[in-house]
């Protein structure tokens, strides 16, 4: 990919170091040539880990490994490769995972179940661990506290830019840092997006608090985005906490941390949508007045996943009849004659028909921008939710009709 998404952020954030966390990446030639495709992160002793994974019934070998390793609750190393997802690879996939963990444990001088793994790329092709495991020792030696950018770049597949975010907060007099990076571009839908995201912090919190914080944060971020309604076999979000900053585990400390974590996760999730395959518009869909928040989420996703809504947005056509259609097909409680829809600041519908004051020219003007806002009020309850998506363009088809060649 040479063309960077038109929705890419104007600049990438500079991630500060977090004491003891060191990263490195290199060219292993797993699939791509002339770019880095393998990364190693080393984590200091005492690092706690939380994780959220795909709910796919055909989860990849690395996902199964991480689920198991998570039971130990401790992490010392993270190895990620791009170009091959090591998914649906049977026994050879499990062997590749085991071999990688073994060599990474040697390089990081830790136990095998303190090694976390992720792979992203083509599904169904055997991953030959021998191609890259001999590189892990060198990566461990080269790893640096400044290695964030190259690590974020090494995990990209069809991504057109690396996705990085950082937050710093003061909690009980301690400065807590949260760094994260993610990849994802297509096969993006809950649960979760086809994506990998790795978040690193120096806060000290019990593992169950970290796990709950991550799970809640993912619900409102990575599980609230969709590019194409397709869910990956590899979705993985891991949160590593070194514990260097002990700000206590009181309600205020946890709330402060969670607010910053949520913010960072949403930032990364939006970056994934902004890099949606072929995306030319970033679309926010807010649903209010549904019977419940869960119902609002389903309605919002029905709109966000509709190919007809997405192609209309690509064509900058305020064809709001398709939003009506997508509400109708969601199977959630709705009353046609109570439904209000806005495009940008324009109320389009009122009492089951076009709003008398609706100005299509203004709605069309709104859709010419890079950011499109669609709001829906069902008028049947108090449930609300917001999701984010992108439009469906020719480039999506170009990218996906011939992904493997």
């Amino acid at each position: 990919m040479t063309k960077i998404s038109p929705l890419a952020p104007p600049e990438y954030p500079c991630l500060p170091s977090i004491a003891g966390i060191r990263l490195a990446a290199c060219e292993a030639g797993i699939r791509y040539q002339g770019r880095k495709d393998l990364m190693l992160a080393l984590l200091p002793e005492g690092t706690a880990v939380a994780g959220v994974f795909t709910r796919s019934k055909t989860a990849s070998a690395p996902v199964e490994w991480c689920r198991e390793a998570l039971r130990g609750g401790a992490a010392r190393a993270l190895v990620v490769n791009s170009g091959n997802a090591n998914a649906f690879t049977g026994r050879s996939g499990r062997e590749a995972v085991l071999e990688t963990a073994k060599q990474a444990a040697k390089a990081a001088v830790c136990a095998q179940n303190e090694v976390f793994l992720a792979s992203t790329g083509v599904i169904g092709e055997a991953l030959d661990a021998g191609v890259f495991t001999h590189l892990l020792g060198g990566l461990a030696e080269a790893a640096s506290e400044m290695g964030w950018d190259e690590a974020a770049a090494a995990i990209m597949t069809t991504d057109t830019y690396p996705k990085l975010a950082t937050r710093q907060i003061e909690i009980a007099g301690k400065t807590v840092t949260i760094n994260g990076f993610a990849k994802g571009s297509g096969m993006i839908a809950p649960d979760m997006a086809t994506m990998l995201a790795f978040v690193f912090t120096d806060i000290k919190l019990p593992q169950d608090v970290l796990q709950e914080s991550l799970a809640c944060g993912v619900h409102g971020s990575f599980n609230a985005i969709t590019v194409d309604s397709d869910t990956s076999t590899s979705d993985t979000v891991l949160l590593f906490a070194t514990g260097a900053q002990d700000a206590g585990a009181g309600e205020g400390a946890v709330a402060g941390f969670r607010a910053a974590l949520d913010d960072l996760l949403l930032d990364l999730a939006h970056q994934v949508v902004r890099d949606g395959e072929g995306a030319s518009k970033f679309v926010e869909i807010r649903v209010v007045g549904a019977v419940s928040d869960a119902s609002a989420r389903k309605l919002a996703m029905s709109i966000a996943n509709s190919p007809l809504v997405k192609t209309a947005i690509a064509g900058e056509d305020p064809n709001w009849g398709r939003i009506v259609m997508a509400v109708g097909k969601a199977g959630e409680p709705a009353e046609r004659d109570l439904l209000d829809i806005w495009i940008g600041g324009q109320r389009v519908t009122r009492n089951g028909a076009a709003d008398a004051g609706y100005c299509e020219a203004e709605a069309a003007e709104h859709m010419k921008g890079k950011n499109v806002l669609i709001r829906v009020n069902l008028g049947v309850g108090e449930g609300a939710d917001t999701v984010w998506t992108c439009d469906l363009t020719h480039d999506y088809i170009d990218i996906n009709a011939d992904y493997r060649s």
Copy 2:
């Protein structure tokens, strides 16, 4: 649309007359210029009617009218327009429906609740019945038992060809005829396809038998197809039975009729898929070994609706990892390591990994054809189902990014 779908049938069937059923169409200029967009069918006294409609929560005004009229169980006229769906048009929509029924009843010399209505086209624009109701009297005079072709053509929107089918069967010494025509091309998904289908027969059967026959037939045909997972506000299938051929209502007679009806509905449904917006491939997806037939349907639809599977088919790329992904995301019971997948005659996967005997070149060769067959055996039960879809191409985006202009 000038380009006819490459998947169109080589020739259109010639529909025989059914005594007393007369049809006509004309140019009302509702939206399209230079083509017929309004049709009237007159039905003889004693005609029974059955109907199946969209389950959308934002159903159109004509759908609401038909649901109500169906309670009477008798039909004497059918009026269909294209170019405007009269959906989400509020009070003016209901008034347009009422005015149309009133004028059609006058033209057909029948009661208003014996008039059935359907509209297809843009959602959310007011339909001015005054533009065409004055034409209904002339249509009634011009109506002919040979009017099938022009009626089928008048209900088209983005369709590239009219969809017609006919069957004749002998039941208890009587020759029973079933004629049908349909429209549909985009916004095609259960329940049901964005489509209209009208079926006419001369059999005499009780209304409840007709209704059950139609509902069952739709499950295996129009509800088993998807173009883009979007469900219309207007989906309508109506079955009119004049009752001229009384072959009894015994088990054998009903079974014989239902077999022919099912066959005709499937024929029309396949024609809709073959005219899927931008379609270049007709795709059959057979799922067996699921825990139930309903689960098999959901798994098959998860594959059929996956944009990544559909773009891979458009690209003639046997990227079967995406089929694995679509099975995994369906949320239905599945065991990764029991999953078998075939592309054409090639078994691709076995025991949770690529099949040792899989030849990608042969699978790629199969995908170069116009008909693509994907089979999946879940290996976890006895449930089975088959659905049909098409690929996702650049033409779909061209057609839908700027549909209204």
